[in-house]
């Protein structure tokens, strides 16, 4: 479905900055692939480059077998019907002056399948229902909804054009954990039901492990390691991956514990401030 070979993404600057260098990455049809890396690793740049928001300065991007790098006009239009991107901050990625129903409806209109305004409205509502939003949500403006609800709107909008590949760029990073859980559950379900391919991008290794079948690890613009999820997490080959995994907090882990969990704190007299 998606094939990146030797991808290089450079921002013009000044000074020119190469965010991604020599990246090879595959997303098979219907697969969920995870891309994990710390900040500045270039993972978001990859997503932006695929949909034409960042310039591909080298290498190739093949979507559904056809070249997509440096796409112009018509090719770009087609591309944007096959691949869609959901941004990290839903509050920033929705037009504050448009009702969310209108935003989704606009995307439906662009998809071009429904002629009638009434049909489009119905389709927009269907999409909002698909992402578990209540009926009244369509008339709301973004500032009236919570982060989780807005992210659902963003997902609905992305789905409106019937893409086959969904790029999810840190989509739960700005959400509460309970909301994150719901969104992740929703995404997994939608992916299965709609037979979508998905590329999950995140700095959160636990989230990536939970949603992906295959995982790529990025550092400073390059892919450091990749492999099937279970294998990579249980037996990482590269030092960098190991150090990342070692730093992830685990419930009940004892990395920093100096006394056993549940033991009382040291006595008051131990305090040098006395």
């Amino acid at each position: 479905m998606l094939e990146l070979r030797g991808l290089r993404v450079t921002y013009p600057g000044p000074p020119p900055y190469t965010a991604v260098e020599g990246v090879d990455l595959d997303v098979a049809a219907g697969a969920a692939v995870g891309l994990v890396g710390e900040s500045g690793s270039g993972k978001s740049s990859i997503a932006r480059a695929i949909v034409g928001l960042a310039r591909v300065s080298g290498g190739s991007v093949r979507v559904d077998g056809r070249e997509a790098a440096a796409a112009r006009r018509r090719r770009l239009q087609e591309l944007r019907r096959t691949v869609q991107l959901v941004f990290q901050d839903p509050r920033a990625s929705l037009n504050p002056r448009m009702q969310v129903g209108a935003t989704v409806q606009e995307a439906v209109a662009i998809a071009g399948e429904r002629r009638d305004a009434r049909d489009r409205r119905a389709e927009a509502r269907r999409l909002l229902e698909l992402v578990d939003l209540p009926a009244g949500a369509a008339e709301r403006y973004p500032h009236e909804l919570s982060g989780g609800q807005l992210q659902r709107v963003a997902i609905a909008r992305a789905l409106a054009v019937r893409p086959r590949l969904l790029l999810l760029d840190e989509v739960t990073a700005s959400l509460d954990v309970s909301v994150q859980a719901r969104i992740l559950n929703l995404l997994r379900r939608l992916q299965r039901e709609l037979e979508l391919s998905a590329l999950y991008i995140s700095h959160d290794l636990s989230v990536i492990r939970y949603v992906s079948d295959h995982v790529y690890v990025m550092q400073r613009g390059r892919i450091v390691e990749d492999g099937p999820c279970e294998a990579l997490f249980s037996a990482p080959r590269r030092e960098y991956t190991r150090s990342l995994l070692a730093a992830v907090p685990t419930l009940g882990g004892d990395r920093w514990r100096r006394r056993p969990a549940g033991a009382p704190a040291p006595a008051a007299s131990a305090n040098p401030n006395d």
């Binding site: 710390e38 900040s39 982060g147 509460d176 954990v177 309970s178 909301v179 994150q180 859980a181 719901r182 992740l184 559950n185 997994r188 700095h203 959160d204 290794l205 636990s206 989230v207 492990r209 939970y210 999820c229 997490f233 150090s243 990342l244 995994l245 070692a246 730093a247 992830v248 907090p249 685990t250 419930l251 009940g252 882990g253 004892d254 990395r255 920093w256 514990r257 100096r258 006394r259 969990a261 549940g262 033991a263 009382p264 704190a265 040291p266 006595a267 008051a268 131990a270 305090n271 040098p272 401030n273």
Partner: protein, 288 residues
Amino acid sequence: MSAEPLLDVQELEVRIRTGAGEVRPVAGVSFTVGRGEIVGVVGESGSGKTLTSLAVGALLPRNATAHAARLRFAGCDLLSASPRTLRRLLGTELAMVFQDPMSSLNPSRRIGAQMVEAVREHRGLSREEARRRAAGALADVRLTDPAARLRQYPHELSGGMRQRTMIAMGLMSEPSLIVADEPTTALDVTVQAQVVELLCELNERHGSAVLFISHNIALLSEVCDRILVMYRGRLVEDLTVAELLARPRHPYTRALVGAVPDLRTDRTRELATVPDDVDRLDREVADA
């Protein structure tokens, strides 16, 4: 014979005047922090965890007031203390570390200048003495070349280094309590580990207690002795990590634990979600 806790909060309430009337984003919160303890506060947005920490540090914004049945810190009654005493006490015994060091550090002043300011005001040290302490504090937080750092501006440092600087600033006065509000949320996971390591080290060496506020319950479970769970302005559970790992009593805590994926989460099952009507469940737990 139990010693008086370092921080004793009973029935804390925060009231805020808004255009639409008065709201109480924090109500009926009671907890203690013993000397040298590391206590975690976990909650999501709207839980009131940040307001609680601000109330303790007397840093609430103008339209908010804190009310409590008891609010004692370091043997002093904060409710009846004069503003002067309060300022002195909080300036020396309490250190606050916030999530975004860039907005807590003055970008137009050198680090050294900012660091010596507080300690000179409260402890009356000379400039040389203060600078020496500042350099010492920076060394304590494992920043390389402390003398050079003092002359740098905040934007010249990375996020992790800025966070350490914040901690160092707090340490200058050898506080008995460090209140850290999401200190690692904006940092990469490896840097996060370093900052947490640092806080634990400080706790061990200086005996400073830590009130660690975070949304990341897994992180807290690795660091803290006890965890306070907050939801919509109320403290729903106060438990040790052992109890957390065994089986928390409150459904919200259970749901929270189940909702966070970690490296051992079962990938075949859906993540647990927080039920919408926690209040009802709350009553159920209380009745049980």
